[in-house]
Symmetry: C3
Subunit: 435 residues, 3 copies
């Protein structure tokens, strides 16, 4: 039961393996905008963080420009070839089925079938991830190599799916802090069996929620959500916009946290929020190299959090960004593509950013001119030729406690490592020379 900031840099050498084991269990589930796969995913998270609340929103609910779609579930789906054998089976890989496919049971020859097949000519071994949420379609996805081997003849396409009035689910956990001001963390749960671009966001956010929930003391309230992308975010905003706008001081959209690529930073619209400042100082101090993307290249729910009128202070820190690695949105983004050590490192970075965010307060000096640091045991009693650099650092930190600079901007302006800066600020506050 540590304080959050104090524990944010503690190592947990097993956590990578633990998160990887969660990934193995979550990977096979058939997630989509709605359906059993999503509920099972949320229930799995709930086992780890019991405080998680699973919300349901009915199909047909209007949310601004959108309508919550019908719930989609799949019993089985397969394609029987001219020889009578199953040539494609949803149970082998749920990417084989076009997302939100209509039910069908139909015999048709190969030429006719081609209109319902999706493959990637330039990645002939990969099954692509394709969906048709808002237009009625049915179809199968397969590797281009497999497609080329399909023989002429009569096929039978069987999709036992149901689209019916049901619910859209999402998970939310709110962990109260000293203030109502919130730190906001979000990831998506709408992708079927893909590892980096789905599972890693879920498992890292789950581990973070467990850690935050166990910490005894933190300043901010934490709001952590697992939602279907886009429609889930729209639903969430339509229910919580006022409170989010009033309270959120910093937030992150989690995605793509498990491959071996360098870290990436994707800024908020203007790139000047507290979340941006914290991300940049943390990456600068924690990793050798990271890539900064343009906001124009965003693609996950930052699209919603940073939309005009919403304007939450949210940015994103990832490893290889979605849409920039070739395995993205194919069957090659699988459990082999991600590494326990890489997920662990992402977890470490996020813990660090969250710890800093929780202490990223603006302080103000209380004295007219410098305080007598000696009285507070912060100044040497003997003045020699050179001012100790530790004293210089304290005086510099004090000199930016003008009520406008947060801890991160004080660290930036005084060139002090952020944890050292926060620790000094805590000491100065204890000595009552800042408030």
């Amino acid at each position: 039961m540590k304080k959050l900031f104090d524990s944010c840099r503690m190592d947990d050498p097993q956590i990578g393996e633990e998160m990887y084991s969660w990934a193995q269990e979550l990977f096979p589930l058939n997630r989509s905008l709605t359906g059993d796969g999503n509920r099972k995913t949320l229930q799995f998270i709930q086992k780890i963080v019991p405080a998680l609340r699973i919300w349901s929103v009915k199909s047909g609910t209007r949310c601004c420009d959108w309508t919550v779609p019908e719930e989609w579930n799949v019993e089985e789906a397969y394609l029987i070839g001219p020889s009578g054998a199953r040539v494609i089976d949803f149970h082998e890989n749920n990417l084989h089925l076009l997302g939100y496919s209509e039910p069908i049971d139909k015999s048709l020859d190969l030429t006719e079938l081609q209109d319902h097949l999706y493959s990637l000519e330039h990645q002939p071994n990969a099954i692509p991830y394709v969906t048709s949420y808002y237009k009625r379609r049915w179809g199968f996805c397969l590797s281009h190599n497999q497609r080329k081997k399909l023989k002429k003849g009569l096929y039978r396409a069987v999709i036992k799916s149901r689209k019916e009035r049901g619910v859209l689910n999402y998970g939310e956990i709110i962990i109260p802090g000293k203030t109502k001001k919130e730190i906001f963390l979000s990831t998506y749960i709408c992708h079927p069996s893909m590892a980096n671009d789905q599972i890693t966001g879920i498992v890292v956010l789950t581990a973070l929620a467990r850690w935050i929930n166990k910490c005894k003391k933190h300043n901010h309230t934490f709001r952590i959500i697992w939602i279907p992308e886009t429609i889930g975010a729209i639903v969430y905003l339509s229910k919580n916009l006022k409170q989010l706008k009033r309270n959120v001081v910093a937030g992150w959209q989690l995605a793509c946290l498990g491959d071996s690529g360098n870290f990436s930073y994707l800024p908020s619209r203007e790139g000047n929020t507290q979340a941006d400042l914290i991300s940049l100082i943390s990456l600068k101090e924690s990793v050798k190299k990271y890539k900064t993307w343009s906001f124009l290249k965003r693609g996950s729910d930052e699209r919603q959090w940073c939309y005009p009128g919403v304007d939450l202070p949210v940015c994103s820190v990832m490893r290889s960004k979605y849409n920039t690695y070739k395995e993205y949105h194919t069957s090659l983004d699988n459990l082999k593509y991600i590494k326990a050590a890489a997920i662990q490192e992402s977890y470490r970075i996020y813990k660090n950013m969250i710890g800093v965010a929780d202490e990223n307060i603006a302080y103000k000096t209380t004295t007219i001119g410098e305080p007598q640091l000696g009285r507070h045991n912060l100044y040497p009693t003997l003045q020699k030729k050179e001012m100790a650099s530790s004293v210089e650092e304290i005086l510099n930190i004090l000199s930016f406690c003008d009520g406008n600079n947060s801890a991160v901007s004080i660290a930036n302006k005084t060139k002090t490592p952020i944890h050292k800066c926060i620790n000094t600020l805590k000491k100065l506050r204890a000595a009552r020379v800042i408030e």
Copy 2:
């Protein structure tokens, strides 16, 4: 009867030749601050744009720190040499006469005459353009080569000019739009026979006025004026300052639009008005190369439009800037120095800037989070691996519709060509997802 924005990029391959033919008619007139040459110039414009109103302001009228000068007209002016032949004749080239010369009929020998002669030692073939508006003088201008050939002996200087109470004239056309907000265009009419630094501004602005007046739909009101430099601008400001300050959202001072030099951009005082942004994006997208001048190098009526307390959002786009080409303010700035193709290109750039200015509005999103673009036929129904770049572009444009960014700054921030950006904004507005 096209809409203004839609027609602003239409080609009019004959317009260069047409403007050049106007230039041939306007070139010989003896323009100055006042007089018949100015009235004839304005009447010529009125033939092309009948809506033009010609204003008269009486000599002696006080305008702030200034007084409208007496009207100046010249019947004839010549210098008879020792041989009895005319060695200089105003009717050959009106630059031969010092601007605003007093009348004189006097015999004097060459030495005495020299005080009344103006030539350029370093441009020995050019007759310089010299004026003395506010101090009584008489004089002749001539090429330095001609001056050197003047023989000793008795000369007779004859200037039949009149300076008397009359009027200062200027032309104005106001074309109402949907809003009272104005786009302001201005050029000067006070130079005698010079082509680039006089005639090109007049003919391009005349062609623009005719085009705008013919367009059926435009958002802004257009205010277009042809005035004598400095005193004309001061007169105009003293009559219209309040309205100009209230309504003008962007404006341009037209000058030097006909030589073969690269385009030049001369910013407003702070360089941050809508006119500056529009000029820069238009030049960037329309021409290979252009030169940016310092505001400190301004020299035409931007001096007045950008004066402290006036502060209109006006800048200038030219070809070779006044005072930077050697033919400037001499008889070498003649009809040979300008080209129909160059005037046409200037006209094209200004049409483009005006079209953009007329659509340069700030938009605001109307939905909480992104709209469902699919419902508006702006999003593919099938989601594959890569988001179509057209969709990315639409989402990026939407994400800057925060009510603060005008179309040009949205185009800059999303790196979209300005016409494409405006067309997308119009579509989004039609779909009611922005307002």
Copy 3:
């Protein structure tokens, strides 16, 4: 009895030698936070500038986080070696005594004595300057070479010092100007016999005060103080904060003005005050080369003047900055280390900055559009091909008289030397075209 601005660039070739002679008299005095040496220093200044007021603040006075210390005076202090001879004597060099030493008369052997000796291993010929203001200690400072020669045996340490309720003194002179707005100048008087890092600040500020006091006309009120560092500044702030915050428009902390190093500029916290702008333009125009330091490297009373909540527009212009030259805070910072010519040059720079500061007012144009400069004899009556650069300069200066730009920022924006700019502004004001 010249006007301040007019005399600020006048040469006074004797002033360097005069200030150096003052330095010779002031150097030997034993200054500290309090005591006779400080009073004698202030009385010396008073002889030169009789308007100086010497203030006394009682020991024990509480000032925010601080308490004014007891007054410290030294009668004599010496160390007698095993041979019976004085090996260290305060009267030879007051740096030999640890600042604020307790009285003592004690025999002790060399080993025990070592705890009370201070020397610098890496500067074996220098006596270091060491103090212990707020913790009771006694000690001697000596060169490392001397220390190594100390023989084993019994020593007698005699320090006849008194620490008792008394006063802390500082000097202040206020020279009223046309407005209550103030220019603030400060230096410290708490160092014993060191030349560059003590005496030069005192003598340059004394000469400046004499000059300002003799000038007949200046716009601003001048507030000039000589105070013990840190505690003196805290005392001064606690008595004058409101008035300082209300009135000070620019100020400088004077220090280290006598060595042969290049000039240094140490900015205010944000580096954007009028004092910063004036320092930069003056240095740029007056010296070939100068070094800009980070605010993080400040060390004198800028620490107090720029403290959050105090926020005076104060920066510092020095020659070699304190803490950057090896003689700093040792006996090597003596009268040989400083040069009359160097002090004179510093005086010249400060006079120039003060003259500019006194005229650094924002002006506003009074006319609608440009005034008719010809009427005010500021424009040629004959307009030829090129606008005279003097006219261009006047028009450029006018075009930034928008009520927001001070003289210095007008000079910066129009690229005009600052004195020329101020003189032009004065002419334009006399012509009533700006106010």
